[in-house]
């Protein structure tokens, strides 16, 4: 009885959900495509984004990674992912020793409240992550 009701509510929810939201499978596939299957370590990465956002059409976000950025030891790529935007991928930034420092920033859209994930890939292939849960009070594209 209870399970049935949950199912019904879940079904309704998916019908009413607009815009479309990336599936957990799409998120896993996007992550795996970036990491090449490498495990995600915690640490090294600092993700800065507001925890409470009113206008989610342009949310400042920055990522810093602890790295000497030398030829032997540097960050190769930094990627941003979202759980519940229509697509999981947000951006991939390509860095190298000539960057001098591993730090990037941009402005992104958030379709709804969700977790934003930053993943850094080092030149040895290892991957490190940081996540921030963001609450959106006025979702992007609500007027569309």
């Amino acid at each position: 009885m209870n399970g049935r009701r949950t199912l019904l509510v879940a079904g309704l929810g998916s019908l009413l959900l607009r815009p479309a939201v990336a599936t957990p499978e799409a998120m896993r596939a996007a992550l795996a495509a970036f990491t090449g299957g490498a495990p995600l370590g915690d640490g090294k990465v600092t993700l800065e984004i507001a925890a409470l956002v009113e206008n989610s059409n342009a949310v400042p976000v920055s990522v810093r990674v602890a790295s000497p950025m030398s030829a032997a030891d540097h960050v190769r790529r930094i990627a941003l992912f979202t759980e519940r935007n229509p697509e999981p991928g947000v951006a991939v930034f390509h860095l190298g020793p000539h960057s001098g420092r591993a730090e990037v920033a941009t402005r992104m859209r958030l379709a709804t409240s969700q977790t934003v994930l930053a993943v850094a890939q080092m030149n040895d292939g290892s991957c490190w992550q940081a996540a921030v849960e963001v609450i959106v009070t006025m979702p992007a594209c609500a007027e569309s």
């Binding site: 941003l80 697509e87 951006a91 991939v92 860095l95 960057s99 990037v104 402005r107 569309s144």
Partner: protein, 107 residues
């Protein structure tokens, strides 16, 4: 046409210093997920790739998706080893292509 893109560098740059470059381009970044008043899906029109070169050598690149806000703004680091010309190329859907240059003068 009014200016489409901006590259902003620190006022003074010292040799050996790591600076943050700010790059901004005017672009709607239409996601491809929205529909117009008639129920027609608006086709995707985004910038997909940004490349920065210092004297011709690639020093930064970014692959963008529809979740990047309109008028894409990027901040990226660069180690300055001397004077040079920084070029930034934006490219994307519907054949969008724009290049902007900035001179780096190190003290």
């Amino acid at each position: 046409m009014s200016q489409r893109a901006l590259i902003h560098l620190p006022a003074t740059v010292r040799r050996g210093e790591v600076i943050l470059v700010r790059a901004l381009v005017a672009h709607p970044m239409e996601t491809g997920h929205r529909v117009d008043s008639g129920g027609q899906r608006l086709p995707r029109d985004i910038i997909r790739r940004v490349e920065a070169r210092l004297d011709g050598e690639l020093v930064f690149a970014a692959d963008l998706h529809p979740a990047i806000a309109a008028n894409p703004y990027l901040v990226f680091p660069l180690r300055v080893t001397g004077d040079g010309t920084l070029t930034v190329d934006w490219s994307g859907d519907r054949g969008f292509a724009h290049r902007e240059r900035a001179e780096i003068v190190a003290t």
